[in-house]
């Protein structure tokens, strides 16, 4: 049986069902079941793709250049598993933390009113959009997937309708609509130039066609669109203020996955269609290098939990894109490992921030919480060290791989980017230390104990354990990332599987 379409179908159907259901408990059960099912399918696809197999579904049976292909190769399998895990944990966080009556001070966990207006259904639509952007092999379908994802994210961002949400929501919607318009123009131009929108077909035509300045222009436009979605330097100022405004679980999901979809699309389009567009790649590499520094410096300047972490998320996107665009296979494999690390660690940190905001409000300047909440301190310690990239953590493995491949590749620009990666690492460590000093250290006399919903704390615990597990199993996972990067080099398997010449179908 072909599994490739299921990561779209399960969230789509369950979202529709969730809109119809009355009653919180039944909605929670359906949402968790759907997320579990999606995760199971994602893992099944991932296991098969890691052996080097490429799974393809041609929608409605139309052969490749005419119909829309859904393709799962190693990279897709990797990000699908990540989206499945994060999706499940987010659904649980939204569902379980609801079962406790909201108390005073549980502001960011207070999901009840928002849940009634369809937070779970919107989250399933969002998951569908995310999975569709991962799976699609068609440039225009990628635009549609982005719109599905973005419309759901507008809803989740605005759910609640408070003034900060409206303010940031307008910015978020406007910047994304402008980027989408640019995407439509780029897709139209690509169709005009290549006569096809299937990404594999474009790739083979480009190989025959050879270099052309118009291709460079299209590559740059598509690069800028995804750079906007991934929040690279001059295009990413919408992110740090908008991600902290939705409810806690949703903002964790946004930070962990949504920007990474932009980064994934950058990797996918540039490794598949534009591997020879060096100019566009160097522009994106430079932007990513600056993004790391801006994100890390921004994280130092903020005094509120999720605002600091949103900037740290921007920095980690910078690292990820730097690795993918340095132009070597070792850099790409380090970037893929960093992708896993970044998704898990940012998610864990946002959940920790949610609990901390429950205890003492948005600002982290409220000392003495280590004595009262030792486990929260341990969790934050582990995740913050991983974020900064201090040796035993997974962040160190990723950053070491990135800096090493940058220095091996050589060249002034790459060495400069390597230096800024190291500086940004120190800045992130400093930002973590500021939170540690501000929130955890100090006399605990003034701290009074707030009840934390057990569901919320256990989901956070699972997220932190995943961060630890990534460090413990760093070797094998890095090996898998290397195999995926090898597969992306040239993309032979992908092209043969999608295009009708080989007639390779997903069984």
């Amino acid at each position: 049986m072909n599994l490739v379409a299921w990561p779209l179908l399960i969230p789509l159907v369950s979202a529709a069902v969730l809109l119809l259901l009355r009653g919180r408990r039944i909605r929670g059960v359906v949402a968790v079941a759907a997320a579990l099912g999606t995760l199971a399918v994602d893992v099944a696809i991932g296991v098969r793709t890691f052996t080097g197999e490429v799974l393809v579904v041609q929608m409605a049976g139309w052969p490749a250049p005419y119909g829309i292909s859904l393709v799962a190769d190693g990279l897709t399998g990797l990000v699908l598993i990540l989206s499945g895990v994060i999706g499940l944990l987010t659904v649980l966080f939204l569902a379980i933390s609801l079962r406790h009556p909201p108390r005073r001070g549980t502001g960011p966990l207070l999901n009840r009113a928002r849940e009634a207006f369809g937070a779970q259904a919107l989250l399933q639509f969002l998951l569908m959009g995310v999975n569709m952007s991962f799976l699609t092999g068609d440039l225009f379908n990628l635009f549609v997937a982005f719109e599905v994802m973005l419309v759901a994210s507008y809803g989740l961002l605005l759910l609640g309708g408070e003034l900060p949400q409206l303010r940031e929501g307008i910015k978020y919607v406007v910047i994304n609509l402008v980027a989408s318009a640019l995407f439509v123009v780029a897709a139209g131009m690509a169709y005009g130039l290549f006569g096809t929108l299937n990404m594999a077909d474009i790739a083979t035509r480009l190989e025959i066609h050879g270099p052309d300045p118009r291709v460079g222009l299209i590559a740059l436009m598509i690069g800028l669109v995804f750079a906007t979605k991934a929040a690279l330097f001059p295009l990413g100022f919408w992110l740090p203020n908008s991600y902290p405004v939705p409810t806690a679980g949703v903002s964790a999901f946004f930070a962990a996955l949504l920007t990474k979809v932009g980064a994934y699309s950058l990797i996918r389009t540039f490794t598949l269609m534009f591997p020879h567009e060096r100019d566009a790649q160097l522009i994106v590499l430079t932007l990513a290098g600056i993004t790391m520094l801006i994100g890390a410096l921004g994280a130092i300047t903020r005094r509120r939990w999720r605002h600091t972490l949103a900037f740290a998320n921007v920095a980690s996107i910078g690292y990820l894109v730097v690795g993918a665009f340095m132009g070597t296979s070792s850099g790409l494999s380090a970037a893929l490992f960093y992708l896993i690390h970044s998704v898990l660690v940012v998610f864990a940190l946002f959940l920790i921030a949610a609990l901390a905001e429950c205890i003492a409000g948005e600002s982290y300047r409220a000392e003495g919480h280590l004595d009262v909440y030792p486990w929260l301190g341990v969790a934050f310690f582990v995740a913050a060290l991983a974020l900064a990239g201090v040796p035993p953590s997974s962040g160190f493995i990723g950053k070491f791989g990135l800096v090493r491949s940058l220095l091996e590749a050589g060249g002034t620009l790459r060495v400069a980017v390597a230096v800024s990666a190291l500086v940004a690492g120190f800045c992130l460590l400093y930002a973590g230390m500021q939170i540690w000093r501000g929130f955890f250290w100090g006399a605990s006399d003034a701290v009074h104990r707030v009840h934390l919903p057990r569901g919320a704390t256990s989901v956070t615990g699972v997220a932190v354990v995943l961060v630890l597990a990534l460090a413990v199993f760093g070797g094998p996972i890095f090996g898998a990332a290397e195999r995926v990067a090898e597969q992306l080099d040239g993309n032979r398997d992908y092209l043969e599987a999608v295009l009708p010449a080989g007639q390779v179908r997903g069984e």
Binding site: W62, Y66, F140, F143, V144, E147, V151, Y154, G155, L158, G161, E162, L163, P164, L166, R167, G169, I170, V173, V174, L177, V178, S180, A181, L182, V184, V185, A187, G188, M189, Y191, G192, L193, G195, L197, R303, R304, E362, S363, R365
Partner: protein, 139 residues
């Protein structure tokens, strides 16, 4: 026609960008609509240059128009329709919450989530007497 349509697309996008840069929400929304019209028109222009023998389903003789750009535009129009509706609702909600459709009002109103006063800049206190507390809009 060769020159007219690109000029039209450029005018639409230019006017759209001009409107998006203004501070009234309704003008911003109109500007976004104009930008998306310009983008749709440019798909039509890009697609017109491609000669295909026949659409996939037909084997009739004669000159054919490539149907795909039109299908793409239709998709983009539908999506644009939905997002414009959402933006209009957002604008109405912002109007209810602030009493004006100026973006500036939304941005410069004191943020209820400001950090504690100890850390606020003493020269720019977070609540200034002229503006006053935010009016709660109807839920």
């Amino acid at each position: 026609m060769e020159l007219l349509l690109p000029l039209l697309a450029a005018t639409l996008i230019g006017a759209g960008v001009f409107l998006v840069l203004s501070r009234a929400l309704i003008r911003l929304i109109l500007g976004l609509s104009l930008i998306s019209y310009g983008a749709n028109l440019s798909i039509l222009l890009a697609g017109a240059g491609v000669a295909r023998d026949a659409p996939p389903l037909l084997d009739l003789a004669g000159p054919h128009n490539d149907p795909l750009p039109q299908a793409l535009i239709l998709t983009a129009i539908v999506i644009g329709f939905g997002t414009t509706a959402l933006l209009l609702v957002l604008a109405v909600r912002a109007y209810q919450a602030t009493g004006t459709d100026h973006v500036q009002e939304l941005v410069e109103r004191p943020d209820p989530m400001e950090p504690p006063e100890v850390f606020a800049d003493p020269e720019h206190p977070s609540v200034s007497p002229e503006i006053g507390p935010a009016r709660e809009g109807p839920r």
